[in-house]
Symmetry: C2
């Protein structure tokens, strides 16, 4: 007789399919809004968190990272890889999963896919930041790089900041066509552009999200006029940037966590003491955000563990009653904690 | 219509019940032997591994740790907590799970419970080390602390080192009774003792494995005679030790990874430059192990990521064909990697 695991041994698991069903159940835009609220709330209490730069294992092909954090009551971490060559083999560049656990007991309380969820949280973070930094009344976004993140970024900017027009550009017209097709019927004017210069015409928000693992220049200095917010997503690991240094020099730069962004973000191109503003200070009201209409604000986004934590927290809160999870027998839970071997003996089928 | 995930999206998951069935399928002692061989093989190629001390998140109640490593082809990590107070609430002090991934793609290839597996690998490591360090012809082990690890430790020493007698002692006689009962019928002479002094009479191997998170003195100086091997399992985090400093001073000390052991092991009681020998050097033949019969050898065991890696590798190799796993839909795998949003759209039930 095989004993049935107790409640304590079971950890709710959200599969990729569960996550997709949860997103549709809540609605893509309402969930992006909800995630932005959770992320903003955690940026407000930023000082509470245990902050460690991600722990990276680099190889010639890519990187595998663990991103842990804790607010003292709940612990979370994300496993994430970044392998730019994967697309050539039909694999995702980035896959991820994450976990929440109780600090008081160390017991995991949620295991979740995070490939979908990371795309959602990255977009929600971008939009929450743009809400604080973009010029007032921004309605047009240029989306440069129309890969896996593009639709999420666009819909988050619509849901959170109220953009009504997206101008798409990708070096591969097929990516732009895919993105335009996926965004159709969601109340946005969608304009496919043939150059980055065309894409940024009239845009108050410029999002760059390209995938090459190299120093690339997606935005050159002469392309960037005054009074815009740049949401730079793609420069997110050592050796990978998207913006010309001159653009950075003209921008007021906002970052998640300076020790990480200086290694991984666009600002790896600048001096190590180049001034940056931490976003949590803007959001909690202790540092200024945009101070003038003609200013160029730049969010040098690399993604930080607290955003994953917020996203997992959101999923955990929305999960009960939905059925979009199943329980995993992940933890050994003997009746007598000192009798782990007895538990093994009782499971003997022979 | 909900698309079926492709093979690439699925990760084999070994639940606690799967693990227990796998252990019985292989046999407890044969699996301990197999694990010891895998761990020994990885100690031999120690220099190949990416070695990072574990990443710990400490709280008043305990610790949550991530233990990553990589041999350049395969990446692994373990999540493990240590919460001594948990037993009072009927929870395990230590629970764990682990993962293996391909370095070349970053894709996970195995997710496994590791509460059972950690008990097995800790015991297999102890026995593999004792095989190298214990006095020749050792047949008697004293097992001090008869909690969750005791039976695993005992059976590993039987399978790997050939002990035929175990002398049990615990401050709680009920724990000793439980341990004696669980070990009955496995070809060992089992002697329940009423004091640690009685337990170590005639023992060539002394294993200490008690659970209090404090400086305790399980072995005092006058208890320890010449010509024994001490396998110290319980001193494995800052502030938790089991041996009197004088015992350490008289012993030749062997450790897994000095930077970690100096913080977590028995040797946190000694000067930071107290000489220790790295086990991988003994096992690969570049440093001496036991050099005299009257010597006291001490394995100051704290557990290292490479041992978990070896254990996961063993499980992965033994899993095919057994059916003791099921596939988890953990990774998003769109047909077109750039079309993650399209994958989400196609999963819309409405």
């Amino acid at each position: 007789m095989i004993p049935v695991p107790s409640d304590k041994a079971l950890v709710p698991f959200v599969s990729v399919d569960d996550m997709m069903q949860l997103i549709h159940h809540i609605g893509v835009e309402p969930m992006l809004l909800g995630l932005a609220e959770y992320i903003e709330a955690d940026f407000r209490r930023w000082e509470l968190f245990d902050k460690t730069p991600r722990i990276a294992s680099h190889s010639a092909e890519g990187v595998i990272e663990l991103m842990p954090t804790s607010d003292g009551e709940v612990y979370g971490f994300k496993y994430v890889n970044g392998h730019p060559k994967n697309t050539r083999e039909g694999l995702q560049t980035v896959t991820a999963f994450g976990l929440l656990a109780e600090v008081a007991t160390g017991y995991p309380v949620l295991l979740s896919e995070m490939t979908m969820l990371t795309a959602m949280r990255t977009a929600a973070t971008s939009a929450m930041v743009a809400k604080h930094l973009a010029p007032r009344g921004a309605r047009v976004m240029a989306m440069i790089g129309n890969g896996a993140q593009a639709e999420f970024q666009t819909l988050a900017m619509k849901a959170v900041c109220g953009i009504d027009t997206v101008r798409l550009y990708d070096i591969d017209p097929a990516a732009t066509a895919k993105c335009a097709r996926n965004l159709t019927g969601r109340g946005l004017d969608i304009i496919a552009c043939e150059s980055p210069e065309e894409a940024i015409e009239g845009a108050q928000i410029v999002t760059t999200c390209t995938a090459d693992k190299q120093y690339a220049t997606i935005l050159t200095d002469n392309m960037v006029g005054p009074g815009i917010h740049i949401n730079a997503i793609g420069g997110d690991c050592p050796g990978k940037t998207e913006l010309a240094p001159a653009v950075l020099q003209r921008s007021t730069i906002f970052v998640e966590f300076p020790p990480q962004t200086r290694i991984e973000g666009e600002i790896q191109q600048l001096a190590p003491d180049h001034p940056v503003t931490e976003l949590w200070q803007v959001i909690s009201g202790t540092a200024p955000g945009r101070t003038a209409p003609e200013q160029i604000t730049l969010f040098d986004s690399v993604g930080f563990a607290i955003e994953d934590f917020s996203a997992l927290r959101y999923v955990r809160d929305r999960l009960p009653g939905t059925g979009y999870y199943h329980d995993l027998d992940l933890l050994a839970d003997p009746d007598d904690p000192r009798d782990l071997f007895g538990m093994l003996l009782r499971a003997d089928p022979g």
